[in-house]
């Protein structure tokens, strides 16, 4: 009994102190969200695909994974689908054992968001040939990876490390003709990584339309 009062007093004082210290702190303006960083472990995620099937990044351990942020109505994306560039790349890389995931972070109702039958039809008409078209309509995965544009490309190594992030190629235009002369960063990075070589360009500034979060 003798000392408990004093203990209570001490606790009281300390809690007031802690409160005061907290009250002093302003609420952070923009809490820094941890985003994917090249050279570090790619954050895991689970998303539902166009057929309602669930896919987790972690389940593809042991394989190279390409993430392609997609919005079929964006002119920059159009360039790569109208020219057949993107479907061709998807097929080519999947034949080499690469897992290719398209991700759409358009919010429900916003431009680029499709669901159900419409989506299935669209995927067919676009010649979309990747392993899955993942729906990220709350933008959680997009924000986690810092996806800014469509297209925005990411490559993850079999060990789960993010090894490339950025643009698909070095021609930031909407012109179909520019697909030919462009040097493709994703192809170069995948070739280097698969050949056990150092990737020359590990990150670039992506180009395209803004992701419609």
């Amino acid at each position: 009994m003798t000392r408990t009062h004093f203990s209570i007093l001490t606790l009281l004082a300390l809690s007031v102190v802690a409160l005061a210290a907290f009250a002093e702190q302003k609420t952070p303006e923009t809490a820094a969200v941890a985003t994917a960083t090249v050279g570090q472990t790619a954050p895991d995620f689970t998303l539902i695909d166009a057929n309602g099937k669930s896919h987790s990044l972690s389940s593809f351990k042991g394989k190279f994974v390409v993430l392609e942020w997609v919005n079929f109505d964006c002119p920059f994306v159009r360039k790569h689908y109208n020219s057949g560039n993107m479907p061709r790349l998807q097929k080519e890389m999947m034949e080499k054992g690469v897992v290719w995931l398209g991700i759409c972070s358009s919010a429900s109702g916003k431009q680029g968001y499709f669901e159900g039958k419409e989506l299935t039809e669209r995927l067919k008409s676009e010649g979309f040939s990747a392993n899955a078209y993942l729906i990220d309509n709350d933008g959680k995965v997009g924000r986690m990876y810092g996806a800014k544009t469509t297209p925005h490309m990411y490559i993850i190594s079999p060990e789960g490390t993010l090894i490339y992030a950025g643009a698909i190629d070095d021609k930031p235009t909407t012109k179909l003709d520019d697909v030919k002369g462009a040097s493709n960063y994703v192809v170069a990075a995948l070739q280097a990584a698969m050949g056990g070589k150092e990737i020359a360009t590990k990150s670039t500034v992506s180009y395209g339309c803004s992701v419609k979060y």
């Binding site: 203990s7 702190q25 923009t30 960083t37 909407t174």
Partner: protein, 710 residues
């Protein structure tokens, strides 16, 4: 979801409607026109041309750096032989926020100016056709690319007849107002640090007034975080713009190109808003980072442990911990097991509170706050409560009141610790210890910053373990205390004396409060002390008499009420009357001038190759004050500092200051004291020890002379 069809139609229209050659041409959401500043073309004489876009409401076009997404318009000229077109002159853009992204561009209209130079052998009296293919991307929620050709026919004339097109004159004049100006008089420096781009802006004498706001638009993509708020701070003559760095791409360009857009204008109110910059980037801020003295986690843990042990000897902890020794003396009597038990509980209290403090620190830091060790002492409210608590504690030690009824059958005045109290003693010791940084500790805490949270917490735990270690040893081997007399009356006297030591700490906290919140805050504190003393007296008079339940209860109630009342009223008054702007005079002995720390000024001094000494200090940091008096203000040191013409900077961290927290972090630290010495140009910073003596400083300064001889 009928949108795709609409989009297809839009794309179809844009691509196939580009064959129209009229001037202006409407394509989708924009109307494009080619204009000339002159009515006729004169051989060899450059003239202005403009591509003008009228943009439908809600849609926008992009600047040459479109920001996070989008693409800028482009012009491809098809000019007659001998004509050349200059670069596009871009008007300044504005930010287009599409959270979480930000683009740079224009809405409503956009004028791109291009200077065209005709050949010098141009025949007179002939019509010349200017042609250009324009393409662009216009966006609202969706983006639509467009392309068209614009044409303009102009007659050629002799030079003396060349008149400007009066109708277009006003149009071109207003378009030119939006172009960034080049002005060498503004002194602008760029410093790139680990996380930020710092732009320091120095005003020329002839400009009246101050800039109200400044926004930077980089020409290159991937340098800054586009959506981030750019913080514009004015400090004295120079103003600083702080912009978070884009660390995803990690570009390190040699020069910084872009424009600064300011209110109210770069040549005074109402003048041009945009200023072009193309300046070298100083990366010295980064060279320093990560050059801590610690190479691995094991070393950090060892340093933390040693630092924690030494922390016991620091002036802030000493008075509180002497009490613990007293406790051990009394427990020693009760046998070794009991004494070891209390020692361990005390250690647990210390480690737990270190972890809690570190946890709060990490959480707040993750939330974007720039805080460091001792952060809670930067809060006047914390200092206030801590001072009140220690004051009451001192009165208790001095015997003005006892907590609870006096127990008979015990030796009066000898504390019989409960486990809870041992634990709380540990908590108190930690709270009181935070203003101090011991040798080894600074680098260990600094290292913890660069580590994942778990490792950081482990380092803090070791710090606590180090601090508690001597007491564990003492409790485990009470025979070490053999040389002390048996418990008895001397302990009561010592206890009273400790009360005075504690009052010394209270005086120091009051002086800190004076610096943080001004004199009226100290008066408020003294008034609260009065209430607390009254509470203690009531408790001492009527609360400690045994076997009179009601009176004891009333006294205890009054005691708790008065304390709560006093502290609450005090905190309220403090909030109301505290002065927010306290200026501290920078006078120093020997005529030395300590200027306030600023990153820009440091970069400038380092570029000049002048040696610099920076004193990171705080009023609540006792070792800082001791070092200052003993070493930095020592006559020999002062003389030497003056002889060497050292630039002296003081970074005062008494109050929360993000700039200083940030500067500390650059040196791999988050605690004061820190003494940084740059011996000359291109030299890496050297750290002086946490405990300074005149000789230590003189030895460090000796290197400067050595360098100057070479």
């Amino acid at each position: 979801m009928r949108r795709p069809l609409f989009v297809y139609i839009s794309i179809f229209l844009t691509v196939f409607s580009t064959i129209a050659f009229a001037n202006p041409v409407r394509v989708g959401q924009v109307e494009v026109a080619l204009l000339s500043e002159t009515e006729q073309i004169t051989a060899g004489k450059p003239f202005g041309s403009a591509i003008h876009f009228k943009i439908d409401d809600g849609w926008h076009l992009y600047w040459k750096n479109p920001g996070d997404a989008g693409a800028p318009p482009s012009i491809e000229w098809q000019l007659p032989d001998g004509f050349t077109a200059g670069e596009i002159q871009w008007p300044y853009p504005h930010r287009i926020d599409l959270p979480p992204l930000t683009d740079f561009g224009y809405d409503k209209e956009l004028t791109l100016l291009v200077e065209i130079t005709p050949p010098s052998n141009l025949p007179v009296s002939r019509n010349v056709e200017l042609r250009a293919t324009i393409d662009w991307l216009v966006c609202k929620e969706i983006c639509i690319p467009g392309e068209t050709e614009v044409r303009l026919e102009l007659p050629t004339g002799s030079s003396n007849l060349s008149a400007s097109n009066s109708a277009n004159h006003a149009f071109f004049a207003s378009a030119r107002e939006k172009l960034p100006i080049e002005n060498e008089d503004w002194e602008i420096q760029a410093l790139m640090t680990e996380n930020e781009l710092l732009l320091s802006i120095g005003k020329p004498n002839w400009v009246e007034g101050k800039l109200q706001s400044v926004l930077f638009f980089p020409e290159e993509r991937g340098i800054i975080v586009n959506p981030a708020r750019q913080i514009f701070q004015a400090s004295g003559e120079r103003q600083t713009l702080r912009i978070p760095r884009d660390k995803n791409v990690h570009l390190t360009p040699e020069r910084l190109k872009g424009i600064l857009v300011a209110e109210p204008g770069w040549r005074g109110p109402g003048s041009e808003r945009a200023l072009k910059i193309n300046i070298p980037i100083d990366y010295t801020g980064i060279a320093v980072v990560a050059k801590g003295e610690i190479s691995g986690i094991w070393m950090a843990l060892l340093f933390a442990f040693l630092g924690g042990m030494i922390l016991n000897l620091m002036p802030c902890v000493l008075p509180v911990l002497s009490l613990k020794v007293l406790g051990i003396v009394s427990q020693a009597e009760q046998g070794r097991r009991k004494s070891l038990w209390h020692g361990s509980i005390f250690a647990a209290g210390v480690i737990a509170s270190f972890l809690v403090l570190a946890g709060i620190l990490l959480i707040l830091q993750a939330g974007g706050n720039s805080l460091g060790w001792g952060f809670q002492l930067q809060s006047p409210a914390f200092v206030f409560v801590l001072a009140s608590f220690l004051f009451l504690f001192a009165l208790n030690l001095m015997g003005l009141f006892e907590i609870g009824p006096v127990s008979f059958g015990r030796k009066a005045g000898v504390s019989h610790h409960t486990s809870v109290q041992s634990f709380l003693n540990g908590v108190t010791a930690t709270v009181v210890a935070t203003p101090c940084t011991a040798p080894f500790m600074g680098s260990a805490l600094g290292y913890s910053l660069s580590q994942p949270p778990l490792a950081a917490l482990l380092i803090f735990a070791f710090l606590g373990a180090g601090m508690a270690f001597p007491y564990i040893v003492l409790s485990a081997f009470p025979q070490l205390l053999r040389f002390l007399p048996k418990p008895g009356r001397w302990m009561v006297i010592l206890k009273h004396f400790m009360g005075f030591l504690l009052l010394g700490t209270v005086v120091w906290l009051a002086s800190v409060l004076n610096l943080q919140a001004g004199g009226s805050a100290v008066v408020i504190l003294l008034l609260v002390f009065l209430i607390l003393a009254l509470a203690a007296w009531i408790k001492g008079q009527w609360g400690s008499i045994p076997l009179t339940g009601t009176r004891t209860f009333l006294a205890a109630t009054a005691f708790v009420f008065l304390i709560t009342f006093g502290v609450t009223i005090g905190l309220y008054a403090l909030d109301k009357f505290a002065e927010t702007e306290i200026t501290r005079a920078g006078t120093a002995p020997g005529g030395l001038v300590w200027e306030n720390y600023s990153a820009e000024r440091l970069a400038q001094l380092r570029n000049e190759g002048r040696p610099v000494l920076i004193d990171f200090t705080a009023a609540w940091c006792l070792s800082c004050q001791v070092n200052k008096r003993v070493a930095l203000e020592n006559d020999d040191v002062v003389k030497r500092l003056a002889e060497l013409n050292l630039a002296l900077m003081r970074a005062d961290w008494t109050r929360r200051d993000d700039n200083i927290t940030y500067a500390l972090a650059q040196y791999g630290r988050n605690s004061v004291p820190l003494y940084v010495l740059y011996t000359g140009k291109d030299s890496l910073p050297q750290f002086l020890p946490e405990i300074l003596t005149p000789q230590v400083v003189l030895d460090a300064l000796a290197q400067i002379e050595d360098r100057s001889i070479i």
